[in-house]
């Protein structure tokens, strides 16, 4: 709390936030009788709004149920680190591009910013983004490892033309400068398609948690491949078979086999209102949620308010962007009887979001952690309380 804020006549008090927590903030009096604080050098959230990530040892999850529109505020973007968050001096930052190229080159941050820049809005989702098991789980806990930003940077294709890629090159290695020196192998076609070296996020420099000063951004591809704090790209004629693409980020598909190099994030959606721990009243309820696909635009979202027996189209809120969180809504008149509500997304390729049992059936009975995008159902109880309804498939 700044001194001059206090001088402006306000006092500290305990208040209840919009989400229902009790926190200490400025006491609201009659705002028309006392001048408020003067203009400041940095804006802040209202004390009544205190959204938070849920952090574990390895990741922290976006409060999807608190978001409005389609942009995730930068400080609420999900995080997944493999060796913590490094501190990198932007004046000492270097990106080396070498390997099967004509002109191995070191780019400083200043160099990267001299190239033509692009901005695009797209989601970023960890491929391990699914939790289930008990009714008292929030959307944040179930699938909070997805977020969306407007990213600014230079297309990787611009840099690849600059260094001159050997015609027989097919992959590249991306390496971060965190304490894990994390590496992933990426098919070169993604580099020519829409990959970016991003240095901007939502109108300012990247956050350290998102790779400051520069990261690889692969729109629509599993989060882990979007290597943060990127320091090196080695163009090659095959994958390097790093730990993250062999021992991790692979999953059982039955018959003793495991799937590797699943890059695209499949279409998914979730209702964020109403969701646990909210409570609704009888009458009109505007069901809202987010839908997205790593393969392109969302084609349609359908909502069921009778536990999946009947489905009706939801309204998509523009802009409906490729590889982007898209907000949808569905106006529903709740009659006060217990039911289940759920949604399912279909993307422009025609792929439709499956059930957990559908995923398990397609993978020989396995659902072991990666690339799970099942339909999420919420149970509405008689008193209007909303609970997660974990799908039992075994």
């Amino acid at each position: 709390m700044k001194r001059r804020t206090l001088l402006a006549g306000a006092a500290l008090a305990l208040i209840k936030t919009a989400a229902g927590q009790v926190v200490q903030t400025l006491a609201p009096g009659d705002p028309t009788k006392t001048p408020g604080p003067p203009p400041s050098t940095l804006g802040t959230r209202s004390g009544f709004e205190q959204p938070r990530l849920i952090a574990s040892d390895t990741s922290s999850r976006t409060p999807l149920q608190s978001l409005m529109g389609i942009i995730t505020p930068s400080d609420l973007h999900f995080q997944r680190h493999h060796g913590g968050v490094p501190t990198i001096d932007p004046f000492k930052y270097e990106l080396l591009i070498h390997g099967m190229v004509e002109r191995p080159t070191v780019f400083t941050l200043r160099d990267l910013r001299r190239f033509p820049s692009v901005s695009r809005i797209c989601f970023l989702e960890c491929s391990g983004n699914f939790r289930s098991g008990k009714p008292n789980m929030t959307a944040q806990e179930i699938c909070g490892l997805t977020s969306q930003a407007e990213w600014t940077g230079v297309l990787l294709s611009t840099l690849l033309r600059e260094v001159g890629v050997h015609p027989s090159a097919t992959w590249f290695l991306a390496e971060g400068s965190d304490a894990a020196v994390m590496t992933r192998s990426i098919p070169l076609h993604k580099g020519w398609d829409d990959a970016m070296i991003a240095y901007g996020q939502n109108g300012e420099a990247l956050r350290p948690e998102q790779g400051y000063p520069a990261r690889l951004l692969l729109p629509g591809w599993e989060g882990n491949t979007n290597v943060k704090w990127i320091r090196r790209i080695e163009v090659s004629d095959g994958p390097f078979m790093t730990r993250e693409e062999t021992a991790k980020y692979t999953y059982a598909i039955g018959g003793g086999k495991f799937r590797q190099f699943s890059f695209e994030m499949d279409a998914r959606s979730i209702i964020t209102f109403p969701s646990y721990p909210q409570q609704i009243d009888k009458g009109w309820v505007e069901i809202q949620g987010l839908a997205w696909s790593g393969r392109g635009r969302i084609g349609r979202v359908e909502v069921s308010t009778d536990a999946g027996r009947q489905w009706a189209p939801a309204q998509l809120h523009g802009p409906v962007l490729p590889k982007a969180h898209t907000r949808f809504s569905y106006l529903w008149q709740w009659d006060g009887r217990p039911t289940e509500i759920m949604c399912r997304a279909t993307d422009e390729t025609g792929y439709r979001q499956p059930t957990l049992s559908g995923l398990a059936a397609a993978r020989g009975g396995h659902t072991d952690g990666y690339h799970l995008n099942p339909i999420t159902a919420w149970e509405i109880r008689r008193d209007g309380q909303v609970f997660f309804k974990p799908e039992k498939w075994k």
Binding site: R243, T246, F263
Partner: protein, 127 residues
């Protein structure tokens, strides 16, 4: 700076090590997190047939060397010498019965190791 190793062994540095030497380093620098035999502890299981281990799930031996060298130990990544990394790799492969305890690993021998999990994986690229 280019420390990545290919599955065919390209990029492996000079140096060598064996399982007996590796076991001593493992006890000092790895066992606290991965357990005395690589089966216990809070960090990923490394040895044996239970769960996903190096012995039953890692398709390339080169990945073991590459990952230890770049990221381990967790509290001092990048601190091990190449000989130490060869020794630790030899110990973990030996504990998983992929190589014998007496094998002296160097770049050529490590590149020649064929892992039990070599054919477990199906490439999803282009699906």
């Amino acid at each position: 700076m280019a420390i990545a190793i290919r599955p065919d062994g390209r990029g492996l540095p000079r140096g060598s090590g064996d399982a007996v030497t590796g076991q001593v380093i493992y006890a000092a620098k790895c066992a606290a997190c991965h357990g005395v035999t690589g089966r216990e502890g809070s960090s990923p299981r490394l040895v044996g047939d239970t769960g996903k281990t190096i012995g039953n799930y890692w398709p390339y031996a080169t990945t073991v060397f590459d990952y230890i060298r770049r990221a381990m130990p967790l509290n001092a990544p990048g601190s091990l010498s190449n000989d130490e990394v060869y020794s630790l790799t030899a110990y973990l492969l030996s504990a998983n019965r992929v190589i014998t305890e007496k094998t002296m690993l160097d770049s050529a021998r490590l590149a020649a190791v064929r892992m039990p999990a070599r054919n477990l994986f199906v490439n999803d690229r282009g699906r």
